[in-house]
């Protein structure tokens, strides 16, 4: 019962925050609404027994990415750009297309018999977690290619040990490239402005 109450609280906050991002016009309020949405998504992850993903969501997404985003908002949202209004026609079309799109997805989701996907297996992550109820160890093992959930999963059919070490390394190199790229973009901007002011003078 507790889980259900918590689910509905987090679900309403997550969905409401997402709708708030679309409806609100003030960019700072939008950012706050996004924080609520992503933060309560972390709560949903906790309910789904994915505590490591939830903690990562809080640490990287809410604590890192969104702070960066708000930083961008504060640097650019001066005066007139804080609210950029849409015309009422755009709003109407956007709402209509969005509703149509959502109803399409919703009908699909409700129509599909998801129970068949489950097969005869018990919920997997519950089996994969150790006695402390944490998935961190299982995820760590999974990264190096040891599936802690082989007895219930589709990995048995594959037979191979497919770890995620290579993708992990690729992602880390990718992050490094992004770091250099973002620093370069920020730097190029400063040179350009100094050149521009030099040209004006």
């Amino acid at each position: 019962m507790n889980d259900q109450v918590l689910f509905w609280i987090f679900a309403i906050l997550a969905g409401g925050g997402a709708i708030g991002v679309v409806i609100l016009q003030d960019i700072v309020r939008m950012a706050f609404s996004l924080i609520i949405s992503l933060g309560s998504t972390a709560g949903l992850f906790f309910l789904l027994d994915a505590d490591f993903v939830a903690a990562t969501q809080l640490l990287v997404y809410v604590g890192g990415t969104l702070v960066l985003l708000i930083f961008g908002v504060m640097l650019t949202a001066s005066g007139p750009f804080r609210r950029i209004q849409m015309s009422s026609g755009e709003t109407f079309v956007g709402a209509a297309v969005g509703l149509l799109f959502f109803s399409m997805i919703a009908f699909t989701v409700i129509d599909v018999e998801w129970e068949t996907l489950k097969g005869s297996h018990s919920p997997v992550t519950a089996a994969a977690t150790d006695e402390t109820g944490s998935t961190s160890r299982a995820i760590g093992l999974r990264l190096v290619g040891i599936a802690a959930d082989t007895e219930v999963g589709i990995h048995k059919d594959r037979g191979e040990k497919t770890g995620y070490l290579l993708p992990f390394e690729i992602v880390s190199v990718h992050l490094l490239v992004v770091l250099v790229g973002a620093a370069y973009l920020a730097r190029a901007k400063r040179q350009e402005t100094s050149e521009a002011t030099g040209g004006d003078a």
Partner: protein
């Protein structure tokens, strides 16, 4: 093992057997008790350290500090301060973004309070014991910056905006070396569970992770600098630099909301110092060989309940004492060192602390490898604590059994 929420629920259920309460109600009651305890612990250090800050700063500046409220030493000064602040008017400036301005202090105080849930005050005295406790704790603590930025932006004042922007840049930057320094004790201990890391350091001083190898010794100081910066304490308090920004993001706040920011600041000072104590300074262990052995020994006997409770209370005292010493060092630093400039703050982090912490991280990874080649297990003797022997993963990292390089470097994730 560790009496966490579910155990408290069953205890309550067994105590209140006459009333035959349901499981969910017992769970709810347990949650209420835990929240009350954590909230008490949240207020307690804040109150003590507000008094300590005033007293120590007074002494450092050759003043007396508070002397009137609550006797000769002004013990009750924090309560008097709180009473004064509650009575003040709750102002919202006309230019401010009302709802965001009002909600920002709550964001700060809630994230700062929530971090205490994952902090073990003594062996098993922890609200939520998780395998990823430390990770989640850092995640929750990183949410504090959002409240500060919102406060800065919603105030509708340029001083507050500058303060909020500086705070955003500073906290996001200092999170990087701080996280890397936190990883060093984790790879030494082979666990993210704070309770487990604390329990590993029983025995003697050599078992404290700070003395485990030279890299973790240095990592402690780097961590402490970063922790000071992440609490916005001087000399890194550029977000509220009163000589240039009036009061930074606090400029427009008054009364109760203002006091929330300070409550959160002192509580998070205690939290980061508590993490430092748990990760580097032996947690709730005294470091005296005989004493730790006696205290740990009969803990898990059949009817050792009272004894366990007493040793836990003692452990709490030790833990709180160590953390308080660290907080006092932060206060001492604040009233001694001059404030840095904002560019110096950023340079300290990105040009010095990040490379230093990366080197320390590499060194800490290589250290057990080097030790295993030289044929020793640790630089110190074997642990003397009774409980240390079976769970002492500090030793098993580089035990002679697995001298292969892969076994000693990948101690973090394996260990079935």
């Amino acid at each position: 093992m560790t009496p966490t929420l579910a155990d408290t629920a069953t205890t309550i259920q067994s105590i209140l057997q006459g009333w035959s309460i349901s499981e969910s109600l017992a769970m709810f009651l347990a949650a209420v008790i835990h929240v009350a305890l954590v909230a008490g612990f949240f207020g307690l250090p804040a109150g003590i350290f507000i008094w300590a800050e005033r007293k120590i700063s007074g002494r450092i500046q050759d003043r007396l500090g508070p002397t009137r409220v609550g006797g000769k030493f002004g013990w009750l000064q924090a309560i008097a301060d709180g009473g004064k602040l509650i009575q003040k008017e709750d102002l919202v400036p006309e230019d401010a973004d009302g709802p965001l301005f009002r909600v920002a202090p709550y964001v700060v105080v809630v994230s700062s309070l929530a971090a205490l849930m994952f902090l073990p005050f003594s062996d098993g005295w922890i609200a939520i014991s998780l395998d990823i406790g430390l990770y989640l704790m850092l995640a929750v603590m990183s949410l504090e910056v959002i409240g500060v930025i919102l406060a800065g932006y919603a105030s509708g004042s340029k001083w507050a905006l500058f303060g909020g922007m500086r705070e955003a840049a500073q906290m996001v930057s200092y999170e990087i070396p701080m996280s890397i320094c936190v990883v060093i004790p984790i790879i030494t201990a082979g666990s993210l569970n704070l309770n487990e890391i604390g329990g590993l350091q029983s025995g003697h001083l050599g078992n404290w992770i700070i003395f485990h190898d030279p890299f973790s010794f240095l990592a402690f100081f780097v961590y402490f600098v970063c922790a000071t910066a992440s609490c916005k304490r001087a000399p890194f308090d550029l977000a509220e630099a009163e000589s240039e920004l009036v009061a930074g993001f606090l400029t427009e706040y008054s009364g109760f909301r203002w006091s929330f920011f300070f409550l959160a600041e002192y509580a998070s000072m205690f939290t980061v110092c508590g993490i430092a104590v748990l990760l580097f300074l032996g947690g709730w262990h005294t470091g005296i060989p005989g004493l730790d052995g006696i205290l740990d020994g009969p803990r898990y006997g059949s009817d050792a309940y009272v004894w366990t409770w007493l040793t836990n209370a003692l452990g709490f005292g030790v833990f709180f004492g160590k953390a308080s010493v660290l907080v006092c060092v932060q206060i001492w630093v604040r009233w001694t060192l001059p404030r840095l400039r904002i560019d110096q703050v950023m340079m300290t982090c990105l040009k010095y602390l990040v490379p230093i912490s990366c080197v320390l991280f590499l060194g800490a990874v290589i250290w057990p490898l080097a030790l295993s080649f030289s044929g020793k297990t640790t630089i110190w003797g074997t642990p003397t604590g009774e409980r240390a022997a079976p769970t002492m993963r500090l030793e098993s990292i580089s035990s002679p059994a697995d001298q292969s390089p892969t076994a000693s470097t990948s101690n973090g994730e394996t260990g079935p």
